[in-house]
């Protein structure tokens, strides 16, 4: 770095489109996903089976639903660590509703509304009082899950109506589960929202420079509030799917998911410092994490050992390009 600092290397032409695509984060990630896919199918004879693969998608669909709005939130320079706690609270509310004889429609509505309210609470604290979101959501993480513990203690809610099971266990067509279809639709919706609308542009602008965004007429507080609402709502959606899939509610439901979801987002190439990232990246990262979990599961590797791999992946994918750039700079010097 020291030798090249004085005269920066100026390229005499732009990179070709192919080079640009090859150098993109999403391309690298897709390569990783394919490599894991091939490795899995070579190692385990059970991997390449439509129903097995369909089952594997349950490893990530619920988390990915939250990862989309979380990606927007992180691009805008905020974070929400309370998402898993919102799932717990929403699921508890749904379970309580069942005890009062609520039907499937009411249960789902209650789950979504609780998610929305939790998101609004986070959003108000961050945008109205101007508090740092990481601290606020660590606080609400304890608060929301704490309320679930107060209501449930060491008990569990069961007895969900049979029709409710469809959201987490039903299939729309052949091997395509409701969750997988919902995941695909949401990926599309959030992709369009972030990459194709004024709102998405505003999110990037806020993440890069909130002050400049404010002075260029973007209602920063409102955009951020909407992002927190979305994250809360999607946590409610995930709560419906997860509760329906498990058929029961415990206060410890989805514990630790916030870290996995943030990992998914960061792995997808979203900068934790805000300002950059893409939805396709997050989608591929979701598949990578799901495939790794599923592949190790087929090989009877315990879940916690997989977490070592996920942790290494999280640090590795960020560290390796930086190490690479450093080595390249040294060689040039």
């Amino acid at each position: 770095m020291t030798a090249t600092a004085g005269h920066r290397r100026i390229p005499d032409r732009l990179n070709s489109p192919l080079q640009r695509i090859a150098g993109r984060w999403e391309t690298l990630l897709l390569g990783l996903a394919l490599a894991i896919f091939v490795a899995n199918s070579l190692v385990s004879p059970y991997f390449l089976d439509a129903w097995n693969l369909s089952d594997a998608t349950f490893n990530f669909t619920e988390k990915a639903m939250i990862a989309f709005p979380m990606a927007l939130l992180i691009v805008s320079g905020e974070i929400d660590l309370s998402v898993a706690a919102i799932i717990a609270l929403a699921s508890t509310a749904m379970g309580a509703a069942v005890q009062f004889g609520a039907g499937t429609t009411e249960i789902v509505l209650i789950g979504l509304v609780v998610g929305l309210l939790c998101g609004a609470f986070n959003g108000l604290l961050v945008t109205r009082l101007g508090l740092p979101s990481i601290v606020v959501t660590i606080g609400t993480l304890s608060l929301f899950r704490g309320i679930a513990y107060i209501v449930l203690g060491d008990k569990a809610y069961t007895g969900y109506p049979p029709a409710f099971a469809w959201f987490g266990q039903g299939y729309v067509w052949w091997v395509f589960s409701f969750e997988l279809v919902l995941f695909a639709l949401l990926a599309l919706a959030y992709g369009v929202l972030l990459h194709g609308t004024n709102f998405g542009r505003a999110v990037y602008a806020i993440g890069n420079n909130p002050t400049a965004a404010l002075f260029s007429g973007i209602r920063v507080a409102r955009v951020k509030f909407i992002l927190f609402l979305m994250t809360g709502l999607m946590s409610g959606v995930a709560a419906v799917c997860l509760t329906s899939r498990l058929g029961s509610t415990r206060p410890s439901i989805a514990v630790g998911w916030e870290l996995e979801i943030v990992t998914m987002v960061v792995l997808g190439g979203v900068s934790i410092l805000g300002g950059s990232g893409s939805i396709p990246g997050v989608v591929i990262a979701a598949f990578v994490m799901g495939l790794v979990t599923f592949g190790f599961g087929l090989l009877n590797v315990p879940g916690i050992v997989m977490s070592i791999f996920v942790g290494l992946m999280l640090i590795g994918v960020i560290a390796l390009p930086r190490l690479w750039a450093r080595l390249a700079a040294r060689r040039r010097a």
Binding site: L125, P132, V135, G139, R145, G146, R322
Partner: protein, 327 residues
């Protein structure tokens, strides 16, 4: 000077804790007995030690989410060593715990310093890695009380001058931090790096190295606490102190340590930890289900951070009234 103390955040927090203790004593008189208060302090000692380590990390604009995993891994390693070699002297075990914790802290610090990876990403990653390693080395097994040597278990409980060793260690750490923060160049550097990194560079402070040292300090204390924790509760397994990192950060936030870096005090961190400790110990004696604890500490974090933000809001000149409102 007294007036300045009374207006400080620490004084308000101290007042809140005293009020809390008095309130509890109206329900249960025994709570204010010195022996019980000493118990509460002893129970809170691990949190105090970790909160002080976390404080220096937060001061430098970083965050260490891996402290609880570091604690658990160190605890598991020393417990396994103890079962394999029961005769190993306790000072050696403590040294090993400190070294192991320091190494894990240094791993975090190096990734932040040399590769410039955001601390939250680094420690999120190492948190899962350290927990995973515990499972790999222990094969998911528990190490129970009867497998540990008596000397190993007795050390943190041994009573010296009326207080258990665990409490004395916490007091020593508090004293060491009071000196470190207010009387050493490194203590100054923590504030400088967090307050204004660019200015710190121009005054000759290596920002990355200072952050690295903060992580090493935090890791070392986590390692020490790992041994104390496992020895005190006489059990080691994968999930000990699960989620404790959030309690540690909560103690710092309640103690007025700014998550944006550069502001905080030793007294604040200690009082923040004690506040949580008093609540935790009070709930069972006043007949409130322990399930309330999580929600109460969550509410306390939110109130504390809102309160701190009010008191430290910058009083700049408002040029555009509407713009000020929009943020």
């Amino acid at each position: 000077m007294i007036r300045r103390f009374l207006r400080s955040r620490e004084a308000i927090l101290l007042g809140a804790i005293v009020l809390l203790i008095l309130l509890i004593s109206t329900r249960y008189e025994g709570f204010v007995a010195p022996s019980n208060l000493a118990n509460v302090f002893n129970d809170t000692s691990p949190l105090i030690i970790l909160a002080l380590g976390q404080m220096v990390v937060i001061l430098t604009r970083c965050i260490d989410l891996s402290v609880a995993a570091n604690l658990a891994l160190t605890g598991m390693v020393v417990a396994m060593l103890n079962t394999a070699a029961p005769g190993m002297p306790i000072p050696l075990i403590i040294l090993l715990a400190l070294a192991l914790g320091a190494i894990m802290g240094a791993a975090n610090g190096l990734l932040v310093w040399k590769l410039g990876i955001p601390p939250i990403v680094v420690t999120l990653g190492t948190l899962t890695i350290y927990r995973g390693i515990i499972f790999v080395i222990s094969d998911g097994q528990w190490i129970n009380a009867h497998e540990m040597s008596p000397a190993f278990k007795a050390f943190p409980r041994a009573v010296i001058l009326g207080l258990p060793v665990l409490s004395w260690i916490a007091i020593l750490v508090i004293a060491a931090f009071a000196v470190l923060i207010s009387r050493t160049p490194l203590g100054r550097a923590f504030f400088a790096v967090g307050g204004n990194p660019h200015a710190a560079v121009y005054t000759g402070i290596d920002v990355g190295r200072t952050q690295f040292l903060a992580f090493v300090i935090s890791g070392t204390l986590a390692g020490l606490t790992g041994y104390l924790w496992v020895a005190r509760y006489a059990v080691a397994y994968v999930d000990i102190a699960g989620g404790f990192e959030l309690d540690v950060i909560a103690a710092c936030v309640i103690g007025g340590i700014s998550i944006a870096g550069g502001a905080g005090s030793v007294g604040g961190a200690v009082l923040g930890a004690l506040f949580l400790g008093v609540i935790k110990n009070a709930l069972p004696v006043i007949d409130v289900s322990p399930f309330w604890q999580l929600a109460i500490s969550g509410a306390a974090i939110i109130v504390a951070v809102a309160f701190n933000a009010r008191s430290q809001r910058a009083k700049g000149r408002i040029i555009l009234k509407r713009a000020e409102h929009a943020t």
